[in-house]
């Protein structure tokens, strides 16, 4: 059921990753995202996969939970992969088929491109999950974002508002999922059928879920705004934090470790091109 969608949900624990400063984890995640897109060769991907496995092991989050978080996105992964395989031209053609006006051409480059793209998305999901969303409570997360962005407040950007919006959005993801689950159960009790029939009837079957969900979201937003005003919330000015963030040695070490790993992971790609090694391009 929907409750199994774990993407973006905090998973309480006490691992090294859980205890790190959220600012460090955000920076590390951004670095990892950049690197996942920069990685060019199979060696780079191999190292990134290794790093990801290591992070998963350290985080103490069950592999099953992580696999479940990937599951809802598997369609996008496969689609992107297929697009790359089908539409990337290349010299080393593996398969060349023509029926009337359909021209199917699969090259080694396309195949590798597809695999790389799929790997990229999977690494992105797992890395951000393990380093950030699973191991950082939403409060820590927005605290970290707010602190990291605080220089921008000086030039007049509403950093606090942004952080508050983020934390509220994150806070309500599980609530919304729970609510959807409840409404689905209720409509199923009235004989709603979400899993059979053609596309049109399936989309129609969603109306009894979406309308109550929309109405309850508005109601929730209204109540929340009222509750915040009742507690004299008036934005970021002069607001102090109950929990101050402090960088510790472990935080710095973690960041250095990630940076080092990243250096190793994609420098070889640059070396290859700098040294002018050719002929094995399709491998890298």
């Amino acid at each position: 059921m929907l409750k199994d969608v774990t993407l973006g949900q905090f998973f309480p624990g006490n691992s090294l990753l859980h205890r790190l400063d959220p600012r460090i984890k955000i920076i590390a995640t951004v670095l990892l995202i950049i690197v996942v897109f920069l990685a060019q060769n199979m060696l780079g991907y191999g190292l990134l996969i290794l790093l990801t496995l290591l992070l998963v092991a350290v985080s103490g989050i069950p592999v099953k939970t992580i696999l479940k978080s990937v599951k809802p996105l598997i369609f996008i992964v496969l689609l992107t992969c297929a697009m790359n395989v089908l539409f990337t031209g290349g010299e080393n053609v593996l398969l060349d088929l023509r029926w009337s006006f359909i021209h199917l051409k699969i090259s080694v480059e396309g195949l590798l491109g597809g695999v790389k793209m799929a790997l990229r998305i999977l690494l992105l999901i797992v890395d951000t999950g393990v380093v950030l969303t699973y191991t950082t409570s939403p409060i820590d997360l927005t605290d970290g974002i707010e602190r990291l962005l605080s220089p921008l407040a000086k030039i007049g950007l509403p950093v606090h508002t942004f952080a508050m919006m983020m934390s509220l959005a994150l806070r309500f993801v599980p609530t919304l999922i729970e609510e959807t689950d409840k409404i689905m159960s209720a409509q199923k009790s009235r004989g709603a059928d979400f899993s059979s029939g053609n596309l049109v009837s399936r989309v129609k079957a969603l109306v009894p879920i979406l309308i109550p969900l929309l109405i309850s979201s508005f109601r929730r937003a209204d109540e929340l705004a009222l509750a915040m005003e009742c507690r004299c919330y008036h934005g970021g000015k002069g607001r102090t934090k109950m929990k101050q963030l402090h960088l510790r040695a472990a935080d710095i070490l973690f960041l250095i470790f990630i940076a080092l790993f990243i250096g190793v992971a994609f420098l070889p790609g640059i070396h290859c091109s700098l040294l002018g090694i050719t002929g094995f391009d399709f491998l890298f």
Binding site: F11, I183, A186, Q187, R190, G191, D193, P208, I211
Partner: protein, 290 residues
């Protein structure tokens, strides 16, 4: 046909297996709920009541054991899940949040429509269901979102009644209503049960309401039914109830205090009406002596 409306046989259910959120919601439940009466289910928050309810109409499948409706296992050929949903109509807590149609009539018709009934039959059932919950027919074409909270609740309950379920299951049907609304909703349910002779199961926190309307009472504690007897008999065991954090009806507590003070009154008084019947003669007797 079995003599029981619903039978739980060794039913267990877990939440979040293998995660820090792991919780055993039901723990080897054996429970038989009789036909043709109102059975109440009480228990603390987290005692497994809601899980139990969602198993009665096949929404949740037991991880161990089986659930039978009228002797047929849910999920078997005789009682597929969809049939189970129509056999045991489940009204969730705050059901008014599931309303979605443009008019009251259409919303109540959603269930019967899903059953594949024809238009004429649906209309008959919608009107009948509205009568049961005390909604005037003038509301048929009104948007459910323009109604008051109590009326929305009635529309939602009518939406289940319109499926003519043999078993009606309600989770806190009067939650959040004022005393008058409470009494009306419970009164409607009571009369519905009487006139259709169907099986009704009510989950409630209100011992007063249970004393008034439920013939039998099931007490849930930590995923197990710890008591299941006539409501009166359950309320006589007030020590046991207190030990699991529940209470007897307010009026019963008052009568017990009176008895402790030396007033010669019987202990099995559970509703205000019964208390009146038990106390008035005493008062009159007192006057005679004076």
């Amino acid at each position: 046909m079995s003599e029981y409306a619903i039978s739980f046989q060794g039913v267990s259910y877990f939440y979040g297996k293998g995660t820090p959120f792991y919780k055993k919601a039901l723990d080897g439940v054996d429970l038989n709920i009789k036909k043709g009466m109102i059975t109440g289910i009480v228990g603390h928050t987290g005692s497994g009541k809601s899980t139990l309810l969602q198993m009665m109409n096949g929404l949740l499948e037991p991880h161990e054991g089986q659930v039978l409706l009228f002797g047929e296992r849910i999920g078997s050929k005789q009682m597929p899940k969809r049939k189970a949903a129509f056999t045991a109509g489940l009204v969730f807590q705050y059901p008014e949040y599931q309303l979605f149609e443009e008019t009251v009539g259409k919303d109540i018709a959603y269930g019967p429509k899903n059953m594949g009934l024809d238009q004429g039959e649906i209309e008959v059932r919608v009107r009948e269901a509205m009568r049961f919950v005390g909604l005037p027919e003038s509301l048929l074409e009104v948007s459910p979102f323009d109604l008051s909270g109590g009326q929305k609740r009635r529309v939602a309950i009518a939406g289940i009644l319109a499926m003519r379920p043999q078993i009606l299951v309600l989770d806190e049907p009067a939650a959040g209503l004022d005393p008058k609304g409470r009494a009306e909703i419970f009164g409607n349910i009571y009369n519905y049960q009487k006139s259709t002779d169907s099986t009704v199961i009510i989950v409630s926190h209100s011992m007063d309401d249970m004393a008034k309307y439920a013939k039998e009472l099931v007490v849930m504690h930590e995923g197990r039914p710890v008591m299941h007897d006539l409501t009166k008999k359950v309320f006589l065991q007030d020590e046991m109830l207190k030990s699991i954090g529940l209470d007897v009806p307010g009026i019963t507590a008052v009568i017990k205090k009176l008895k402790a003070l030396g007033v010669p009154v019987s202990e099995d008084v559970f509703t205000v009406e019964e208390a009146r019947a038990a106390l008035l003669p005493l008062l009159k007797g007192g006057e005679d002596h004076a």
